[in-house]
Structures are given as C-alpha cells and as structure tokens.
C-alpha cells in the first residue's frame, strides 16, 4: 500500500494492520437548538480490508450519513473518521478532494454518470481529473468483469439502468481505490440487473481483494455481503457475519423498519 506523504499528517501512528475505514465516537448533528437532529450518536465501527460490508437500518437511522462521512463528503460534528491511517478531520478541503479522487470509489443510487461523457470516459474520469494514465490491463479486467465492453463508446442516455450502474461500478474500481462506497446502488434497478451488479461487486472483493462498503435497504442485496452492520438512531445496534436474506429480514423487522 502506498500513501502519498503529503496526505499523511506526521503524528499519525501507522499500525501494522489497520482497517480500511473506521469511525470512532462519530457524532453528527444537523441543525441546532430545538430542531437539531443527531444523525450519528457516538458511533464506532471498523470496516476490514478486503471485505464486503453492508450497512442496514431503518430510514433516519443515519446509515447514509455514516457513508457520506466515511467518504469525506460530509464532516463529523465530533469524533474521528479514518480512511486507512488517515484521519479525515485533519484534512483540508483540497486534500479531501484528492483523497476521494485517488483512494475512494463511488457508486450512487442514481445519476452516477456525467451525461456528456461516454461510458469509457466516465470510467476513467477520476484518473483524467488527476491527470494520470489508467493501468490499461486493470482497466481491461474491470471492463470485462462488468460486461460493458460493447457499450463503451455510448453516452449514458444510451445505456440501460443496469448498464449505467455497472459503468459506475467500473469507474469506482478503475483507479484501484482502497475502498469503494456504494449508496443504494441497486435502488433503481430491476431484480436481474441488481443481481448482476451485486455479483460483480462480490467478484471485486473475492477476486481482486477490493474493500466495499454498501448502504442498502434491500435484504437480498445485503445478503451478498460478508458482513451486515445494523444501525438505529445513529448507533450500531447489531451485526451479522455470513448473512442470509431471511435472517436479515428477521433482524430488520425487529428494528422496526
């Protein structure tokens, strides 16, 4: 693993084995006074390298907030977020942008692709922004894996919803990020397109050693993960290893979703 020295505050101790991402005593409060909402309420969690973790929880449980904060898209009120050994709270806006570009990948629920760029251009966008060349072999591997090779020259409006999401997943992996964040990636897909995307994400973890953190509502999607973390009221309330859809559904019912 290589860390650009500019990003690493000198006082951070680098342990031998460190989680891909972790939140420590994370508190996020939106608004102030009577209308203040505690989206994250002193939450601590780790996401292991090379694992596929799903975050689940009822609406308003803080799962999206957690993902946004982990990804450096939003800042905590108090507490710490580490991406690898880097504490995000110490970073400037510019450093955060660089971190997202070079060390994280994203798949959102919708509107994942820039409409003016072709699928291929979308896939290499983070590297183009960094002014870096993509590793052609790896790019080839990723594109092959998501199965959009014949659609590379097309604009997003000419792709199906499933193809768009797979192109977004390819983009997320193309720069070999340390971690990929997926926010309801299957939310807008029909079940077969969703299954294809999830299969690819599983492969990315198993075959390529990718780390993925995915927020989802869908127990079937969550069951593809190695581990499911359950949130309620801004805290981790439970977790499940080797989950099945039925077990997740059962747990979610108890959480009152």
């Amino acid at each position: 693993m290589s860390i650009s020295s500019g990003l690493m505050p000198p006082y951070v101790h680098v342990p031998a084995s460190v989680a891909a991402a972790r939140a420590v005593e994370a508190v996020k409060i939106y608004g102030s006074g009577d209308t203040a909402v505690r989206a994250l309420n002193g939450l601590t969690v780790e996401f292991e390298r090379g694992h596929f973790t799903a975050i689940m929880g009822p609406s308003g449980s803080g799962k999206s907030t957690l993902l946004h904060c982990l990804a450096g898209l939003d800042a905590l009120t108090t507490g710490q977020i580490f991406l690898g050994d880097i504490e995000l709270g110490q970073l400037s806006e510019r450093e955060l942008t660089k971190l997202r570009r070079d060390r994280a990948g994203f798949v959102f629920q919708a509107f994942n692709l820039i409409p003016t760029l072709t699928a291929a251009e979308n896939v290499t966008l983070p590297m183009d922004l960094a002014g870096r060349e993509a590793d052609p072999e790896w790019l080839d591997t990723v594109i092959e894996a998501v199965g959009i090779r014949d659609r590379l020259g097309h604009k997003p409006s000419e792709l199906s919803g499933g193809q768009q999401q797979r192109a977004a997943a390819a983009r997320a992996l193309a720069s070999r990020p340390e971690i990929v964040f997926a926010d309801e990636p299957t939310g807008n897909l029909d079940s077969s397109a969703a299954a294809e995307l999830l299969t690819f994400m599983q492969r990315a973890v198993k075959d390529f050693g990718q780390t993925i953190v995915m927020v989802t509502h869908d127990p079937a999607a969550a069951s593809r993960a190695d581990r499911v973390v359950f949130l309620a009221d801004g805290r981790i309330v439970d977790e499940m290893l080797e989950p099945t859809a039925a077990a997740i559904l059962d747990r979610m019912k108890r959480l009152g979703d």
Binding site: R94, T97, K98, R100, F108, T116, L129, A130
Partner: protein, 842 residues
C-alpha cells in the same frame, strides 16, 4: 394563479434583476441619448435666447439658400444702412455687429482651440457685454478676451497676445477681460473696437447683421415692416423670433442627426438584449417543466401558463425600464462630463428629463422583453400535467429541419436586402440595409444552432488535451446547441458590427493612403489643424508669404464653400487649375478638364453629372450667399475623388462669390534648384506667425488623414462595446442557469474527485468556447458586411478591401478573456456548491 406567479417572482428576484440588466443597459442607452440631446437642445435654445436679448428685429443679407449657419459665412450688410435704419420711426436703437474666427495663441505658441466650440472674434458692444476687468478696446492693438480663457491661460490686463484671423496674424495688448456668458459652451472670444474687428474679420465697411431695438409700444412685426421698407434690394428684416426659430431649426436638424445615430447604436444594444431575454426565458421554461406541469395538473389552463410566463416578462421589462432610466441619467451625465473634458461646456443647464424620454424608454424595455419572451411562453403550454407526477417529458424543440429552412430563408432575405440596399439605386437605401443587417443576424442566429455542436467541437478541440476540465467544458458547450448558439449569437451581433467597422475603417484607410501615395506630388501640405470649420484653416496670407520664398516652386491653395443647388446646401471646392496639376497627379482625363476650367465655369464630378443628366456645355444654376443665383457653364467633367463635394470652381470664381475665408489646404512644391532643407526653412518661415497651421509632408499627411478614421473607429467601437457587454452578461446568465440545472452533475464530479479549481476551470472553458464561437461567427458576418460596404463605396474612392487579420485575431483573444471574466461569478457559485446537497437533491 396570480399568487403562484408572484411568489415565484419574489423567490427569483436576484435572477430577475440580472436578466433585467441585459435590457436595462439598452434602455439606458436610449434614455441617455434622449436626455443628452434634450439637454444639448436646451443649451442651444438658451444660447440663442441670450444672444438675442435686447433685439427685436434683425437686418441681414437675404438668405439665398437653406444652410447650416457657420460663423463668418454670412454675407456682409453694408454699414451705410445703419443711419437710415436709425431714422425709421419706432426704432429705439440699431447696432451693427461683426463676428468671425479669431484663434488666440498661448504663451508657448500653441493655438487655443477647444474641440468643438468655436473660437470667436467680434466687435466690442457695451450693450451686449460686461467687463470683468480693464478697459474696453480702443485702437488698432487693443483686445478684450473672455474671462474663462483668461483664467485658464493666466492672461491679465496688459499682457501681449498673438491672434490669428482668416487672412492675417497680429499682435495685440489685452485691455480688458469680458465676462463670458455661460451659454457660450466653452467657446473662446476676442473682442475689438468695431472698425478694427471689421478689418480683421474681412468685413471692411460692413457688418454681419444689424440688430434693431423697438421703441416702447412698437411691436416686432410693425418694426420689421417699417425697417424693411427702407432696405434696398438683397437685404431683409426679420423679427428676432423668426431669426431664432431658423437657427433653432438648423441646430435641431444637427441634433436630430446625432440623436438618430446614437439611437441606432442603442437599438443594437436592445436587439442583443432581446436575444438574452429569449434565451433566459427558454432556459427558465425548460427548467420549470415540473412546476408548470403541477400548475397544469391542479387546473391551470394553457392560457394561464402563458400569462404566468408573460407576467414574469412584464416584471422583468418594468424593472429593466426603471433601471434603464437611472442608467440613462448616468450615461447622459457621463457624456456631458466627457464633452466638458474636451472643451464643450454644458454646465449651467440642468439635465433635461422629458416625459417622452420616460415613455419611449419604458415602451422599449417592455416591448423588447415581452416580445422576446412570447416564444418561450408559448412553448411552456406544451408541458402536459403528467410531468408533475414524475412523467418524463422533453420540451419539443422545433425540428432542426424547420430551423434550417426558416433560418436559411431569413438569412437569404437579410443578405439580399443588404445587397439591394447597397448596390441598387433605391429610395430609403439606408433603412433597407438596416433591415437586411437585422435579418442577417437573426437568420445567422437561427442557423448557428445547427452548427453549434460541430463548431463548439472544433473551437474546443485544441483545448481538450489541455486538461480534463477543458474537455468537460467543451462537452457542456456542445450538449445544448440551441442554448449555446443563442448565447453566442448575442455576442455575434456586437462583434459582427465591430468587425465590420474595423474592416471598413482599415479599407478606407488603405484606400486613402494609396490614393495620396499615388496622387500627391507636393512636398508639403499645409492645413488649419482642426477639421471643424468654425476653427478655420490656413490664413490666406500664408500662401502669399510662401510665394515670396525663392525655394518654393509651386503654391496651390484649395478652399471649400457651400452653395445652393435646387434649394439644398451643397459643397464645392475651389482650386487653381493652373497649379493644381503640378502638386497633384490627377490623371489625363482630369488634367484636360482642369485645363478647360475658366473663372466663369464649373467642373462637375462625372457620376454626379450623369445622375443629373448634365453634359459639358450645359449650365448649372448655383446660388451663392454673397452674389445670389449664378448660371455657370459646365466646362468639363472630372473623376478624381478626394475633393469636398462634387463641384470644382476656380479660386477667382470663389473670390467673386464668397466672403474671404481660410484656405482648406495649401500644397507646396519645391523649386527645382532649391534643396529640401531650404524648402523646409522657407515653409517654416512662412507659417511662423500662424501657429494654427500644421505643416505636413506626404507621410505625415497620410497619417493625419488616417488618424481621423481611427478616431471615428474608436468612437464606434466604444458605442458597440455596450452591446458586447450585454452579450457577456448573457453568457454569465446562461452559465448561471445551466449550473442550477446541473447541480447533481457538479456534485457527482466533486464526489469523484474534481477539485473546486477544476470545476471553476470547467465553467470558464465553457464560457471561452461560447465566447470564441460567437466572436468567430460575428467576424465572419463582419467580413461579409465589410466586403459589401467596400464594394458599394468603390465609386467613392474606397478601392482597397483590407481585412486586418492581426486586429481580428486580437478580438478573438479579447473575447476569450472577457468570457472568462463573465464566467467568474457562475464559476465561483458552482465551486461553492455543497457536494452533499448536490448529490442528494430529491
């Protein structure tokens, strides 16, 4: 419905104001023009009223033809009439007055010559003027100067001063300082004892006019008739109100010309504003489809939707009009300050804000805005209610096919009208040309949507390799060809006209240069400096002094004057047919014509003779102010352009028919045996008492001729600059609206690692591509317009078609830089977007 509309308006008040600004600048131009010209008119009326105080009837030589009044050009009134007029019953007093040109020389030897206002010389009249210091002028060497000039140049009573007249240059002693009436607008004034003024200004034994004051109880009309009864043939008595009305009418015509010229530029600015309004409302309607769908779903009719959009246009138009009126005041104030800085004083007259100004400005603002919003408003009615509940709907753009046909037809009509107006002999050619240009711009604007995508791709092509933001900026410029095209088209108009005047000016300059290069043989050309006729030319004395110099071989003077032809004031040039061919290479045909010219006849320019159906041997009736109608035989036709007017007479004929005046130019040729240094010394000796005269060799003469064109070009560019500014506002507006539309996309870009700087860069690249596109389209049209004009003016001596590529390339660079500035705020706003709110909208 109304409440929804109004709430929407309030919610978008800043955007409304920004949109309104695009029209407000044009409205401000219109209002400012009216305020400025009204104020100037008021000032002129004040001057005339002040100048006519204490007069009831004026006696003058009969006006032979309608002409713009020029100081010193009036026919003299014999001074022997004065005692007779004083005898008339009912006359309280009668005084003769003399006025002409007198240029004072400052201590450094430079002429005191404000730009525009006249340099007056006249007779001291205690009933008309009041001394601030010193004594009235008595005798041959006394002069009284005005207090404003005295203060500015630190003249005091007792100082010596050199003053230049049409025929002489003399030294005087300042005997007094006269209080300058403020209405004289920055003119300079030197006053002498009456007989001295008569001699100096060429009115020996005569006056410009005689002012008569009535005894109590005698009306102007009665007095006029009584005075008229004693006047000999050739003189007339007019009441002061009739006399001032004439001058007011003449000045009104000049002001009307200035007003029309400025309004033409204002119309261009409004036209550009219309493009922006159209574009803005089109984008707004497109962005609001969901809102409009909701209104339709809850029961709003199509008419109500249209009215809702038009209401917004009315509000924008009203806002634009009000802001425009305020801008107009500032514009007029600024112009008056600018004129003051160049020597024309308007202070002392309040800014004239007439109801007409408000009405026209309001109408202009409202009409431009509402008419431009009609098409977008109608398109809004196509939104079906279903979009309110998430149905997908794309506003139907008119098919590109139809656009091609309509745009092509409009362009063809425009180009056709332009060419017909320029080349065919038709009445109202100028309006036809104007309509043609307008249609060409609209047509090109429509067609530009068709080529916007490939053009943006080509323009942005070289940049895509620069950086990813440049690539994305180019893609954004290409994604909505209509929007890009109409934003660029607004810029195209201003740049097209700037390109046109630049090419026209370059062509005229090149033509003038080659004409002078080819024809002028003289070693030196003497001119009176300022081109304004009131500040004179070369005193006639100079040519006499030159002839006495042995190293001077040939001296040839050229004068210009006005005469009446079919009741219209027409310009002629007087030359010496013997010496002119020695200093000018006129060509074989013209040489023969000049050889045929006697002191009794006239030469007419060939194509003018053709228009009138005149042949050599026919006679032309020319009405001279001094001698009345004269029938002159046409002794030849000439071809050469470059003389004022289309009629040539001999200098002897001029002396017979005109009061003495300055030489417009004096050409000097070296004597064969003399050296260049001798000639230079001789010429400098001859003009030594006349600092008003500029001595130029051929190269300097070319430069002075072309620099006048440069001045005019700079003035037109400044006036067109406003249209370009409005177009840049349009770019800012479009980008701002696009950014709102692309919020999610911008958020995504930021999320996947685009830095704020890169985002700003992306917006700026889009602006640069739009700006360069508009500039290239504009320059293409400008080159065509320029070519058409040069072809049309071929007979006027514009023989060269010159495209100053370097200057046009500079315009492209300036446009790119200006576009970056226009994108400044939108780019900043885009980069400040909160990433999360951008991603999680809805």
């Amino acid at each position: 419905m109304w409440r929804a509309t109004l709430k929407g308006l309030l919610a978008h008040r800043w955007r409304l104001l920004r949109t309104a600004l695009a029209v407000a600048l044009g409205v401000g131009f219109v209002a400012g023009t009216y305020i400025l010209t009204d104020t100037m008119r008021q000032k002129i009326d004040d001057i005339i009223a002040e100048g006519s105080e204490g007069q009831d009837v004026v006696v003058r030589a009969e006006t032979k033809f309608a002409s713009v009044a020029t100081v010193g050009a009036e026919t003299p009134v014999y001074e022997g009439l004065l005692p007779e007029i004083r005898e008339v019953e009912g006359v309280a007093d009668a005084r003769g007055s003399v006025f002409g040109t007198a240029v004072m020389i400052d201590e450094r030897g430079d002429p005191i010559r404000p730009m525009g206002p006249p340099t007056l010389g006249g007779n001291w009249d205690p009933t008309q003027f009041e001394l601030a210091a010193g004594e009235p002028p008595v005798g041959l060497t006394d002069v009284v100067v005005d207090d404003v000039t005295a203060e500015r140049y630190e003249f005091v009573v007792g100082d010596d001063i050199q003053i230049v007249f049409p025929s002489s240059s003399e030294a005087f002693r300042i005997s007094g300082i006269v209080k300058m009436p403020p209405s004289y607008m920055g003119a300079t004034m030197a006053l002498f004892e009456l007989p001295v003024a008569q001699r100096l200004l060429g009115f020996s034994g005569s006056f410009n006019s005689i002012a008569v004051r009535a005894a109590p109880g005698i009306s102007d009309v009665v007095l006029r008739d009584r005075v008229a009864a004693v006047l000999p043939e050739g003189y007339e008595a007019v009441t002061i109100s009739a006399a001032t009305a004439e001058v007011e009418e003449q000045m009104g015509r000049i002001m009307g010309f200035i007003e029309t010229a400025l309004l033409a530029f204002a119309a261009v600015a409004l036209f550009v504003g219309a493009f922006i309004i159209f574009n803005t409302f089109s984008i707004l309607v497109a962005q609001r489809t969901r809102e409009i769908g909701l209104l339709r779903a809850v029961g709003a009719t199509r008419t109500q939707v249209t009215l809702s959009v038009l209401t917004e246009a009315v509000v924008v138009g009203l806002l634009a009009s009000l802001v425009g009126l305020a801008l107009g005041m500032i514009f007029a104030q600024g112009m008056i300050a600018l004129l003051g800085a160049f020597g024309t004083e308007f202070s002392g007259t309040a800014l004239q804000f007439r109801p007409r100004t408000a009405v026209v400005a309001m109408l202009a603002g409202l009409l431009v805005t509402v008419v431009s919003a009609v098409a977008p408003a109608r398109r809004a009615t196509h939104v079906p209610p279903v979009v309110a509940i998430g149905g997908h709907f794309q506003l139907p753009g008119r098919s590109l096919h139809r656009r091609l046909i309509v745009g092509g037809l409009v362009t063809a009509f425009g180009v056709g009208s332009l060419l017909v107006g320029l080349f065919a002999d038709i009445p109202n050619a100028l309006s036809v040309v104007g309509v043609g240009a307008l249609a060409t711009f609209i047509g090109a604007g429509m067609l530009s949507a068709l080529i916007a995508r490939p053009l943006a791709a080509v323009v942005g092509g070289p940049f895509t390799r620069v950086s990813e933001p440049a690539h994305l900026g180019r893609q954004n410029a290409m994604r909505s060809p209509r929007r890009t095209a109409s934003t660029a088209a607004a810029l195209m108009i201003g740049v097209g006209l700037v390109g046109f005047v630049t090419i026209a000016a370059a062509s005229v300059k090149a033509s003038a240069t080659s004409a002078i290069e080819d024809s002028v043989r003289a070693d030196y050309i003497l001119q009176g400096g300022s081109a304004a006729m009131t500040t004179g030319g070369v005193s006639a004395d100079v040519s006499g002094r030159l002839r006495e110099e042995p190293s001077v071989g040939v001296v040839s003077s050229v004068k210009t004057g006005q005469f009446g032809l079919d009741d219209a004031a027409t310009t002629l040039t007087a030359i010496d047919p013997l010496t002119l061919p020695e200093v000018l290479d006129v060509g074989a045909g013209d040489l023969a014509a000049l050889g045929a010219l006697t002191d009794e006849g006239v030469l007419v320019r060939d194509r003018v003779a053709e228009d009138h159906g005149w042949k050599v041997g026919d006679t032309v009736e020319m009405v001279f102010q001094k001698t009345g109608a004269q029938r002159l035989p046409i002794e030849g036709l000439y071809e050469l352009s470059g003389f004022s007017g289309d009629f040539l007479i001999s200098l002897s004929a001029y002396e017979r028919n005109f009061v003495p005046g300055f030489d417009a130019q004096v050409y000097v040729l070296r004597a064969p045996e003399a050296s260049a240094a001798d000639l230079e010394a001789a010429v400098n000796r001859a003009v030594e008492p006349y600092p008003t005269v500029t001595v130029q060799d051929k190269a300097e003469y070319i430069k002075s001729q072309t620099s006048q064109i440069d001045g005019l070009l700079a003035f037109m560019q400044a006036l067109l600059g406003l249209s370009i500014l409005i177009a840049l506002l349009g770019i800012a507006n479009t980008l701002g609206l696009s950014i709102i539309e692309r919020t999610r996309e911008l958020g995504l870009l930021r999320a996947v690692g685009m830095s704020r700087g890169q985002l700003r860069s992306m917006v700026r690249w889009e602006a640069v591509i739009i700006g360069v596109m508009g500039t290239l389209l504009g320059l293409a049209i400008g080159v065509f317009f320029g070519w058409a004009l040069v072809r049309a003016l071929q007979e006027e001596g514009v023989t060269e078609f010159t495209v100053p590529l370097g200057q046009l390339a500079l315009y492209v660079v300036i446009a790119a830089v200006a576009a970056i500035l226009a994108a400044w705020l939108p780019a900043r706003r885009a980069s400040k977007l909160d990433i999360l709110s951008a991603i999680v909208t809805e």
